[in-house]
Amino acid sequence: MTMKKTVQNNVNITNFPQKFRQDFAIIAGWVGLGSKVLDLGCGDGELLQFLRSCLEVKGYGVEKDDANWLACMQNGSNVIQMDLEDGLSVFEDRSFDTVILSQTLQAMHNTEEIVQEMLRVGREIIVTFPNFGYWRNRLQITGGRMPVSKILPYQWYDTPNVHLCTINDFDEFCKNHKITILERCVITDTKAVSFMPNLLGNLAMYRLKAQ
């Protein structure tokens, strides 16, 4: 299997249209030009479409939901209908340059398994999740209520999010699972947060590989 060489490129966040989700531009900066990308839980394929248009990636998505699957296919993406909880058995070891799990980790039941599967299939992986340690979440908990926000829009009784974690938790997870953190970017709205990220950042983004 031939694979184009991964070229890390610097992408300026401000160059992209506002309609794209805040994390897309950072993900684009971590994905090589012309590389092969697998987007897990790809929704309607917006990220894949974005990466195709700016980086000419060869992209595949995985999506379980019928309506999302259809929208993704209509957007011109390759999309495989599968439940991520069942693993990634249709994908060979090291068959992708980058495997992405964007804001889906917290909704996975088999959290450890999906991360291990991503590390098996991808040379590198990108994982993003809402940081439960963000101060506004802490404030709501201090006020005696479960956090509800733009990034965590659910009530406690209808949330698909079963494995919420903080940045410190995920750092520890990586350490315990022998995962190398290549890069970490924490953002709040569209701004990067470097000071006290576990308190001030609401979206955590990691570029990882197996040790």
């Binding site: 299997m1 060869k58 699957w69 259809l70 296919m73 209509q74 495989i80 209908q81 058995s89 249709v90």
Partner: protein, 374 residues
Amino acid sequence: MQENNSVGIVAAQTAHFNSPLTLKSGAVLPQFDLVYETYGTLNADKSNAVLICHALSGTHHVAGKYSGDDKYPGWWDNLIGPNKPLDTNKFFVIGVNNLGGCHGSTGATSINSATGNPWGSQFPVLTVEDWVTSQTLLADYLGIQQLAAVVGGSLGGMQALQWTIAYPARVRHALVIASAPNLTAQNMAFNEVARQAIITDPEFHSGDYYAHGVVPRRGLRIARMLGHITYLSDDVMDEKFGRKLKQGIQYSFDAEFEMEFYLRYQGDKFAGEFDANTYLRMTRALDYYDPALAFDEDLSLALRKVEAQFLVVSFTSDWRFSPARSREIVKALLDNELTVSYAEVTAAHGHDAFLMPDAHYHNILRSYLSNVQV
């Protein structure tokens, strides 16, 4: 509504081929006919042709009716027509009766010119590969170098897959629906029981029943009854028939449960219109198809020359061609970095779901086909 987007009144045509065709088995057909239908208009570039490959008991009559009085349209009429998912305003659609079939193409019921009698037992055993080769000859005959798409369900899906393997430059898209890269032992076992039902029917006469003026009706009937059980899911059979009785318990072995009436009706209908020799050969073609065999059972290697783009579709309740089998095709396509989308449609109808007009399923096909360039 159905009438507005129907292809309307259609007629079958026959293509005659005079050159001998050497089959995979080594047998040679000195000449043969393929009967086919077309819907829509072939464009000037001849780039909008879509071939429909039929399954075990299908025919070239895929859409439309032969006359206004026809009770039923072609077998995939819900898919094909103006503004339907496979839109005949855009595509030129071809339905063909497979070689060895019993609906007009040369088969066991045809006259063998060497003897002046029906071929019967002497008609060769055909393979999926042979069908595809004969279909390329039909494409040549129609002046079509490259198909926009090949579409098939079940055994038809195997033909679509085979097109992309054997003739990579001649097909741009393959829609492989409710299919598999080969049959499992259990699946072949159903075929074997069906064939045994036919072969052990005293009226089979070793396949030369035409000369005796009889047909092995009982065998065919049982074969079809067995088939129908495997085409439906447990749930849908339960929903459709449950334990319902027509007239209460009679303490007899006549049909009492509604399920029994259904199976007997389907069996009788089929035995009256399908040829037993053809049934044997169709099931054998299914059994033998195994493109990975020549590649150490490695399907990915078998597909390494494929260029076509794929849509693979399976149905959750299909246990005869289960989603897991479709995923094997998907994996092999992914291993070759081919363009592929895969849908696993939630459906109750088992294997038969591929013929049903489920809204989501039809949306999938409509969306995929609308992205196919012609």
